[in-house]
């Protein structure tokens, strides 16, 4: 098995996807495509150079170029749109929420819009209030969109392939702080089906359900807590729509203790939904109150110590896990 950096696996997936299917187009800035402000961003340019007719840079018109991608998807293409920072997706909200999500349903199943929206979410360090948002909870409240949150090199590659192959509109939500993370990626890595959670770490005492970069953070915390004798199981849903609730519940039944870690703001965030579902279906399995670790309900501040204070840090994750043990 190859060890590979996350961003390399992502680039490899992008190249394989555009090579394999003529109907794939990338609508994206050439200089930074899919890698945001990371130092590797120029690497996307290699792909753009090799597929000049299928990589196109739009004006700063998110509403129109997302709508364009949706319309193109309705007409047989598989466009992948890079919105860069997730906050810019709000510019395209009418097209994503009102058009893409509803197209199949409103038409009674006649029309499909197999478009992929690519976003970089979360606290990236000094992004402040307008460049640090995590819109996955808002999107989850809008039926009709698949939502993907990769957290490892293998997942980013396998899930990206599934996203582009999917016949549904898919929001692919990545995190720039994952890019340097290393992991196994097999040469002929297969697509990873949506709706299959992965137990990223087996454990007996507490179930931690985490998404995106919070998976890596929770894994680090789990190692720490192992030294305290707390055996943490980390469950990564990988896609929240569809959600593999069965795997989550199986873990909850085993441990009876739950912490949900997610980078959305707390209220009506992803963690709220997962906690609510467990509260409804797993009430009698719980040995202790569940805990949520999420971004505190304030706009994201710029200054590092303030950002840190509201963030789902390792310290806050550890504290929540310990609390469930009492």
């Amino acid at each position: 098995m190859r060890q590979m950096a996350y961003f390399e696996a992502k680039l490899e997936a992008l190249r394989e996807i555009i090579s394999a299917d003529e109907s794939v187009h990338f609508i994206s800035d050439i200089g930074t495509g899919f890698l945001g402000l990371s130092e590797h961003r120029v690497r996307f340019g290699e792909i753009a150079r090799d597929f000049p007719d299928r990589v196109i840079a739009p004006p700063i018109s998110e509403l129109a170029f997302c709508g364009l991608a949706i319309g193109a998807a309705m007409s047989g293409l598989r466009p992948v749109v890079d919105l860069i920072t997730a906050s810019f997706a709000f510019e395209a909200w009418p097209q994503i929420i009102n058009e893409a999500a509803n197209a199949r349903y409103m038409s009674g199943g006649q029309t499909q819009a197999p478009v992929v929206f690519h976003l970089l979410h979360g606290l990236r360090g000094a992004g402040a209030a307008q460049h640090s948002q995590s819109p996955q909870a808002m999107l989850w409240n809008c039926p009709g969109l698949e939502i993907v949150l990769p957290a490892s090199p293998r997942d980013v590659k396998g899930l990206l392939k599934t996203a582009v192959a999917s016949n549904n509109p898919t929001v692919f939500i990545d995190h720039v702080l994952l890019f340097e993370c290393m992991g196994d990626v097999s040469e002929n890595d297969a697509a990873i089906p949506f709706g299959q959670a992965e137990i990223k770490r087996k454990g007996a005492d507490v179930t931690v359900v985490a998404t995106s970069y919070m998976v890596q953070r929770s894994l680090a915390v789990a190692e720490q807590l192992a030294k305290e004798g707390i055996d943490v199981e980390v469950v990564d849903p990988r896609t929240i729509v569809p959600l593999d609730f069965a795997t989550i519940m199986a873990s909850v039944e085993k441990t009876g203790r739950v912490v949900v870690v997610d980078e959305c703001h707390m209220s009506c965030g992803v963690a709220a939904e997962i906690v609510a579902r467990i509260a409804e279906s797993g009430f009698d399995k719980l040995k202790a109150p569940m805990r949520r670790v999420a971004t505190l309900d304030v706009p994201v501040p710029y200054s590092p110590p303030l950002e840190d204070f509201i963030s789902p840090t390792e310290a806050r994750i550890a504290q929540a896990i310990r609390a469930t043990m009492n």
């Binding site: 004006p59 509403l63 193109a72 998807a73 199949r104 038409s107 009674g108 006649q110």
Partner: protein, 323 residues
């Protein structure tokens, strides 16, 4: 055109009878735009309509029975009752997605054109929208991209506000727009744009043929503003018929209540066309009356079809979210 008119009038009756309850919009007064505009398209061209879509669907050959059924929320509707009046889609006719969001279809149609161009299908895309959509930022954003990328899209703006709200500035807008005439905005983005009389069948047909010809020759997007005078039945939020149309109104508008008679006398595109046909000797009054009779029969059959169609099973609500 007569089919559209009688369809919409029957729809108003169905609404008044309580067969459906939501907000809806009719195409009365714009028939002379939709019919000739869509007459000459190719089977694989894509069309993106709005809340005021019934006429477009019919002009493209949609089955009136299934249209009524959709608007009545019935199982045999084009969208199985899931879309309703604002969202009638008929993929077989190229209507993939009809939006109720003003301006929402302009980027979508531009995208279908992007697909047609990059796939090399030779198809084009037609975006049908009202003058109000020009006030949404989606319009200039999409015009810009369509122009830069030379996409095969026809922007057909139906300005049903001639002598409308903005009369004061000598313009023809249904609402507030500083940039007039409306052709200037696409023009600014280097999209050839013309203003035509949307109640003149020949003018519409010619303008659209010319535009689609240019598009198919690879000259990029084209814009047409088709002007019409707002039908006085749409003054309130719900349509109200001033009169039941019959072809005789073309020669004698006296059955129309006086306050609304003017429109039927001089701005009704259906009656204008009838007078033209007769004047040109293409048809006699009697022949046209015959056509109307058969149209009315077709509509009444279509209404019967829709009323006989059952409501969908409730659990149908859970299907078609995802592939």
């Amino acid at each position: 055109m007569l089919l559209i008119r009688h369809f919409e009038e029957a729809l108003v009756a169905l609404h008044e009878q309580g067969h459906f309850s939501g907000h809806y919009h009719v195409y009365i007064g714009q028939e002379a735009t939709g019919v000739p505009a869509l007459a000459d398209l190719a089977p694989d061209d894509a069309l993106f309509a709005t809340h005021r879509n019934h006429g477009h669907l019919l002009a493209r050959g949609a089955d009136p029975g299934r249209l009524f059924a959709e608007i009545l929320g019935r199982r045999d509707g084009y969208n199985k009752g899931k879309g309703g009046t604002f969202h009638i889609a008929a993929a077989g006719l190229g209507f993939y997605h009809t939006t109720g969001i003003v301006g929402g279809n302009i980027p979508l149609a531009t995208g279908a054109a992007y697909a047609a161009k990059t796939r090399g299908t030779g198809a084009l895309s037609v975006c049908l929208f009202g003058d109000g959509a020009m006030e949404e930022g989606a319009a200039p954003e999409a015009f810009n991209i369509a122009s830069l990328w030379k996409l095969p899209v026809l922007f057909l703006c139906e300005n049903n506000g001639k002598y409308g709200a903005n009369k004061a500035v000598g313009a023809a807008q249904s609402s507030t727009m500083a940039a007039y005439p409306l052709t200037e905005l696409p023009g600014l983005y280097k999209i050839p744009a013309v203003q035509i009389d949307g109640t003149d069948v020949g003018a519409v047909f010619n303008a659209v043929s010319e535009a689609t010809g240019r598009i198919r020759r690879g000259e990029g997007p084209q814009f047409i503003e088709a002007q019409s005078v707002r039908w006085p039945g749409s003054e309130g939020n719900w349509p109200v018929l001033p009169v039941a149309t019959n072809v005789n109104l073309a020669w004698d508008a006296s059955p129309v209540p006086e306050s609304k008679r003017d429109w039927y006398r001089s701005s009704d595109p259906v009656l204008i066309f009838i007078r033209e046909l007769v004047a040109a000797g293409v048809a006699t009054r009697e022949q046209i009356a015959e056509v109307e009779k058969s149209v009315k029969a077709e509509i009444s059959q279509a209404v019967q079809f829709a009323l006989a169609s059952p409501f969908p099973e409730p659990a149908e609500a859970l299907r078609d979210v995802f592939a």
